[in-house]
Symmetry: C2
Subunit: 335 residues, 2 copies
Amino acid sequence: MARDFATVFARLAPHMAALDVFLREQVAAFEPEIRTMADYCIDTSGKRIRPALVFLSGWQADGAVLPDLVRVAAVVELVHLATLVHDDIMDEADLRRGRRTASREYGPEAAVLLGDALFSHALHLAAHFPTTAVCRAVADSTRKVCAGEIIQTLRRRTASVTRADYQRVIDLKTAELFRVSCALGSELARLPAGFVKGAASYGRHLGIAYQIYDDLADFFGHERKIGKTLGTDLVSGKLTLPLLTLLERLPETLGAQLLAEIKGEKSPQLPFWLKYMEELDVFGAVVAAIEAELKIGEDALRPWTDLAPTELLLQLGDVLRAQVEGLRRTNPVAG
Amino acid sequence: MARDFATVFARLAPHMAALDVFLREQVAAFEPEIRTMADYCIDTSGKRIRPALVFLSGWQADGAVLPDLVRVAAVVELVHLATLVHDDIMDEADLRRGRRTASREYGPEAAVLLGDALFSHALHLAAHFPTTAVCRAVADSTRKVCAGEIIQTLRRRTASVTRADYQRVIDLKTAELFRVSCALGSELARLPAGFVKGAASYGRHLGIAYQIYDDLADFFGHERKIGKTLGTDLVSGKLTLPLLTLLERLPETLGAQLLAEIKGEKSPQLPFWLKYMEELDVFGAVVAAIEAELKIGEDALRPWTDLAPTELLLQLGDVLRAQVEGLRRTNPVAG
């Protein structure tokens, strides 16, 4: 079976189309002054991974699109978009998905509020399920995502970040929303409680793996291809796994130099460190960490191979593996 | 009956104490790194008007503190605090309630996220009621509050703002949360549906009146007393009711000069305009607008004078009247 991006996402086409219609309807519900801004954020160029997790976790049959799943997919995507809008203010990022960030387009002030409006609209949609379960899950997740982002921000330009710190932050800021997407998708599709638990665990570890990949791409990606500026983590003093691994492998004096750049005491030397990353096989070590997370997630789904969603969810892991290979192929330094 | 601040709030002392305990417990639930920041925001120096509306709308008897009301009071207060944190980023305000704003204390980046965390914690609390009613109401209100703030931000430094525009913005950004505080307080205390409607309407118009007072205090308050910098609306190009009234009453050339300051083309001349405000009795006109709103709210409660909450809610209107008189007394220009 060809486990590539196109294959999985082709089967999701009717779901994504329904999601798009639903999201456009939501934009129409915003106050007139905000519609253009909301529309700008809810563009179709995003990868929509979290909605994909919702739909695949609650998979019934080809073409079967459950309205509850569309609504929950919209909720998680809106929460995600809200965090991106606020993230880009903090990162002072210029580009997101190859075009100007909301913060650059409308100014940081309006972007703060736009993020808030997207957040509260997500909760508004979550609150319109018959029980409080969805609203609870989404509010809890959102809280954790914010906590992860805050901790990450507070730790910028500090040299004392450990692997455990890094793991905790990405568990909160990224894996939590992946986890809840799988949990809600499978729950709303009335799949067995054991599967819901397995899917949630798969989502969580896929999320961790995905974030590590994202942090790897910040060093080894192609700016045009990933649609954002490279090297931002080094520039903004964020110790992600590639940098943590490099630090562990560098001789002491060079390590001190790198930490001085992280702390903002010296200007960042991206090409210089990329050379050391190559020499010390940082790429390989980080890919091994991604693989380890994918493995934990896949193990959680092992008892459920007879259920339709399982095979499809597993394909997402392989999509990520293919993306990692893509980095290796296109970047000579990735070795 | 002495309708002053002290009298009403003395009867609310056990409620406010319970609210404070509850809010402190909530802070303990935050991730360790965020606790200090959250604690900084949830200080006790705030007026807690929205919680007061919750408790008074669902008033049972002296000393009777309903746990549901405490929870809902915490929800509305957290939403309010979140908006303040984000507001102060946009206003680049230094002071709030007489001390440094969260944005100045922790930096705007952390403040964006802190506001998000407070928002999502509010929704988290709302989602833990047995039905979705509270979560719906709070999510809807939050969405409206954000919309109001966005529209206000987009309109800064524009000269075309009308009274209707102003009214709509304060209805969204302030009156909505006052309204929902009264609606939820009375509903959770199982008061008659007619009263819930009346209390909601009272809350809304009290909120409008309160915001107009707040905008008046920006010109006629005492910096030390209200705990924030004066004249910020003129400086930031926000056409509030005092300025709109002044514009209506100024001769054309002076009006053009004021608009040039609003648009940021000329530097703001606060003392100059205060003199004209005095001469043209802007204070009196704005106070009349406050009084008109209070009247509409009071009329909505008229059929419910036999219910205990009614008399107490009405006292809040008189508290506001006393605050307005306070501005008149302490500011010679208020005439």
